[in-house]
């Protein structure tokens, strides 16, 4: 059997980098769930256009953040447990396969979100997770079911 990665190791392996990384810290991770946070810096470039004078985080970016946590990071953790040699993990890439999402709030520049992912199933390298994103006051802004699949590069 492979290795149980720590939250720090998973974060180091996450391929998404600036300016397209929307995960700051992984607080908890195991076979079945993950909890992570991200703060949307007011300096992020897309706020200039979405929308001029009225910056709001785009819903697609919220989905991306949820996917980086609940599908990519959680997926890396699960792949690592299957691999004999952890270096093989760099040969894999996670492709986003499907999503169903509801938006129930907005995220303003400077706000921090907590993303909670719960594994729905992991089979044949496809990971399907139920995910919620909430603000510091507990307001749920986005929730849904996202899936991705690990494939060889």
């Amino acid at each position: 059997m492979g290795k149980k990665l720590t939250p720090e190791e998973v974060l180091d392996l996450l391929p998404q980098q600036e300016p397209f990384r929307f995960v700051d810290e992984i607080l908890e991770i195991d076979e079945d769930h993950i909890v992570a946070t991200y703060r949307f810096s007011p300096e992020l470039d897309f706020y200039r256009g979405h929308f001029p004078g009225n910056p709001v985080t785009p819903g697609v970016i919220l989905i991306e953040s949820m996917a980086q946590v609940s599908v990519v990071a959680q997926g890396l953790y699960l792949f690592a447990q299957e691999l004999d040699d952890i270096s093989q993990i760099s040969e894999m890439v996670t492709v986003f396969t499907d999503a169903q999402v509801d938006f129930s709030g907005i995220v303003k520049p400077g706000e921090r979100v907590t993303i909670r992912g719960k594994k729905n199933f992991y089979r044949r390298r496809k990971l399907c997770a139920d995910v919620e994103m909430c603000l510091d006051d507990g307001t749920i802004v986005c929730s849904g079911r996202l899936s991705g699949m690990g494939v060889k590069q």
Binding site: F121, R123, S147
Partner: protein, 82 residues
């Protein structure tokens, strides 16, 4: 359960994932799930899990690999149901 009943249930499970409604309207056992119905290959995992839940069976990955047509799914489910 008759083969027709299994076929009908399989078709119902596939429905939400079908991208080619025209092919689905005339679905038969020979219809290919990926080629004809244009189901996304990553959705095959969801479909196989739905078969397991619906029929209360377990489908091994090797068996799942053999599912190309709707008829293949019906045959494998029939075998598992004994």
């Amino acid at each position: 359960m008759s083969e027709q009943e299994i076929f009908d249930k399989v078709v119902k499970i596939l429905e939400p994932y079908v991208k080619n409604e025209e092919a689905f309207a005339s679905v038969v056992k020979e219809t290919s799930i990926l080629e004809d119905l244009k189901v996304n290959s990553a959705r095959l995992v969801d479909v196989v899990l739905a078969f397991e839940d619906e029929f209360d069976i377990e489908i091994a990955d090797e068996d799942a690999d053999a599912v190309v047509t709707v008829g293949d799914a019906v045959r494998i489910i029939t075998e598992k149901l004994g």
